[in-house]
Symmetry: C2
Subunit: 349 residues, 2 copies
């Protein structure tokens, strides 16, 4: 005997199930299910009856049961390295908006830039039934890739387009972009460069950006190893520390390239605290073009990346894959420089 029928007079306090609705409406569970999922397959009169019962009972479908039975959740997952700053916010927003138009829900997790944590998150999201995943960058553990392949989970890699990577990706060429930016810096006459980067070991984007800077130096006939490099974790303070440390050298850089805007903002802030004027005393550049870049003083000259475009296109592609469309193609988008105030000609020494 099921205890859920109200024997005590007052309405059962358990959550109503499909079956309750069916009983209440005098139809079978199949009909209720159809009403909810493909209303056109049910005649008007019945549908009204069912919907009325649904409302009456305050019924809400149990997602887990549905996922279990249907093998499809209409849920995508995204794993981004961090939520602490706005780097991925805009892109994710666009991703979500596009998914929304297809009736798909987004679940977001963050990996704190740790491949192992990312691996956990991938498994967690897949275990939760994510139909497809958005991942950032190419670097991740082989286990993660193996898992994805084994489960045949469609995924796309955003924020990075590397010509030589085989995987489906949508983004820009980090290396090329930084090469372009660095060229401009060199054209301003700078020869002693500093580079503040996020840890490169497990971050292909950071690596690409660094290499791009090296490329440009080499092109210009400069020795890339002469560039002062500081690797640090993300954060305003960290960027500031790296900057200060770098500037303490006997012949400090005249221009400091930062792997992203957060680091650059930290450098700018610290420069001010150190009594250095940007860009007169030292030039600083960023990367990503997040809101922060426009707000600090001086505003940061940075590489604008196609946040929203990456998000939107990724969503389109994944939706396509889930609908059995032929495997999409990787897509290269453009990144371009936003000229602002933090980059200037080299100071007369």
């Amino acid at each position: 005997m099921k205890p859920q029928s109200a024997e005590n007079g007052k309405p059962a306090d358990v959550v109503p199930t499909l079956e309750d609705v069916a009983r209440h409406a005098g139809v079978s569970t199949a009909t209720v299910s159809r009403c909810l999922n493909s209303p056109e397959r049910v005649v008007e009169r019945t549908r009204l009856k069912v919907l009325h019962a649904v409302r009456e009972l305050g019924y809400a479908p149990n997602f887990n049961a549905r996922a279990l039975a249907a093998k499809r959740t209409n849920t995508f997952g995204a794993i981004i390295p961090t939520m602490e700053n706005a780097i991925f916010a805009k892109g994710l927003q666009a991703f979500q908006e596009e998914l929304g138009t297809h009736g798909i829900t987004l679940l977001v997790a963050s990996s704190s830039y740790s491949p192992d944590l990312e691996n956990d998150q991938v498994r967690a999201l897949v275990a939760r039934g994510a139909d497809a995943l958005l991942l950032i960058g190419h670097d991740r553990t082989p286990e993660t890739y193996a898992f994805l392949e084994r489960r045949k989970i469609p995924y796309v890699i955003a924020w990075a387009y590397a010509p030589d990577e085989p995987r489906l990706s949508i983004g820009f060429d980090n290396r090329q972009a930084m090469r372009v930016l660095t060229r401009k810096v060199l054209e301003f006459g700078h020869e002693r460069l500093g580079f503040i980067t996020a840890p490169r070991a497990t971050n292909d984007r950071a690596r690409g950006r660094y290499q791009g800077a090296c490329d440009a130096m080499a092109e210009h006939g400069l020795d890339p190893t002469s560039m002062t490099v500081r690797e640090t974790t993300y954060g305003i303070e960290e960027g500031g520390d790296a900057f200060e440390d770098m500037m303490a050298a006997p012949a400090p850089p005249t221009a400091v390239l930062c792997g992203n805007d957060v680091l650059a903002a930290g450098a700018i802030k610290r420069a001010r605290e150190m009594g250095l004027t940007v860009p007169q005393d030292v030039s600083i550049t960023g990367f990503d073009d997040i809101e922060l870049a426009e707000i600090v003083t001086p505003a940061i000259t940075t590489m604008h990346v196609p946040h929203r475009e990456m998000g939107r296109r990724s969503a389109e592609l994944l939706v396509g894959l889930c609908n059995g469309e032929p495997t999409g193609r990787s897509l290269e988008l453009e990144a371009s420089i936003r000229w602002r105030e933090s980059l200037g000609p080299v100071a007369r020494s």
Copy 2:
């Protein structure tokens, strides 16, 4: 006949299930389940056998099936108004960290400050099996509250502590905090105040902050209605627009209080663009004390709110509730002023 056994010679390409593991290890599904969930109830030898099979097969439990069967998901949900700026990032981070120590996963959704959307998100998270929810502020639709009560979902309201609200909440008194800040502004001699706020209709925190400012004015013998008010959506640009608009009046405010730091940062940026010096020409204050407040020039004098503390305490409280502890109590935390540069004495007029 199940098609999943490999009749074609190559290993089955379906995802392995508990049953596969059981068969592989030569035990029952119950034993495998126990191995995974309460290993101490299984003897070492068996456990090893099972774990080996798990590894061999690359088994990962199906979360939905587990949730369906166990009625408990070890997942909490949080619905924040926005992910676009960092207002909730730190608190959420702390919330997540604390949950992590209890083996609980966090699912985050954002409502874009819309009660209806929030209602959807609540239902979605609950349907997904969230054992408990973190909500921001008191304002939400009655349906949402009714739903929560009906389902007996434990929840806590953070970012707001209002003495007269009956619901479990952890946070600070927005009204009182803004009253304190405004008092300080008035003590600097300002009498013509401007107030830029987020839409107050469905946001008790914004309302509270506004009222706090009014309170302080009244205390000071000033007419609260003399305060110029601009209501705008969150955003740097929006804050700037509101500020500019406000300053175009014949007798513009000498101090502009902003409902949060994002708005304040926008105001500061615009002030600079308008050729106004802060705080000499006009004072500006913020609220929240997010990273941004320290970075802009001049740095924003703002109300620091106990982000991490709110997150951590909320987690503790919810975990307690889920473990059947007696209903916790609401908790008031302190917010305090961070003195920086954007507030100064009123300009000699």
